[in-house]
Symmetry: C2
Amino acid sequence: MAGEKQGLSDFESQVVDFFCDGVKLLGLPRSLGEIYGILYISQEPLALDDLVDRLGISKGSASQGLRMLRDLGAVREAGAATGRKSYYEPDVELKQLAGGFIKEQVRPHLASGDEKLKNLKNMVKEMPGDARSDFYAGRLSRLGAWTKKARVVLPLLQKFLGR
Amino acid sequence: MAGEKQGLSDFESQVVDFFCDGVKLLGLPRSLGEIYGILYISQEPLALDDLVDRLGISKGSASQGLRMLRDLGAVREAGAATGRKSYYEPDVELKQLAGGFIKEQVRPHLASGDEKLKNLKNMVKEMPGDARSDFYAGRLSRLGAWTKKARVVLPLLQKFLGR
DNA sequence: GGCTTAGTTCATTTTGAATTGAACCTTGTT
DNA sequence: AACAAGGTTCAATTCAAAATGAACTAAGCC
């Protein structure tokens, strides 16, 4: 009988479930939702061991998930260290969460997309200038407009979420 | 030697690749990126068989992918039917694409999230009214604010993308 | 120094989503 | 009606992403 959310009340496990859905929508691993969820609904910061015990996940998973959440800025070390053990608490500001996600997940994709697009445009320049290459050029320039729009919208979005 | 993008020029397969990255970011299956990509860069509409031949994917995959893209409003049947075979072309308006994605993928998630949240709030109402339940109520009401913001932002986003 | 506890890393395993392919409809053609 | 071509469905398979867990490093403590 492998442990699965043994340490969670019905209420808590439903909260965790809520966040699991949320991270799935964002394309992030389930464990991030579990970890953030349990931190979100805890009155006190939790240590890595607590996550392992209460969620029934492996130490490796907890460590990696916690790291990812810190990178995203969704979780931070809490207060003064009591001994050498670290305790973690969630950042509950939507603005920060969205900002971290955009910075870590969205922008890198956008950047590599731009790179590829630049490449494609160069390939078209090398082609003989006929109807076909004109068509290609048109489609690529439309793609460029898309990514440009994304660039403009993201800061606006962040600003809006901060209100 | 199983066929893989046999029918694609270097240029075309890089375009397809671009869209594969794109759909990955949105958490959609790779095949959608392949299919949309090849349609996007084709001067003429393509039939299901063309997708199978050029992308080297199975008929089943092509059929399912095409269906999903139609549901998303990213692809439509082109012109008058020549015989009984259908040909498909991409919708290239960012506004439409984003709208379809939001309607089909985002809103359902939001709706089920609201359902769950309502449930959780009821659970808290049943609890004895102490400091703990107050804490829970606070956290849940913050979640409510998040989803409300999402609700407000999505239409704004669509409007912006349509400009 | 030797011991213990906290945390990380990474090769292997698991699991869940995507793809396949064969059977099955449907519609048109002779 | 028999056949063919286009398309769909779904059980079985494949594959990539995530979780595991054992080995490892780092940091106190005696």
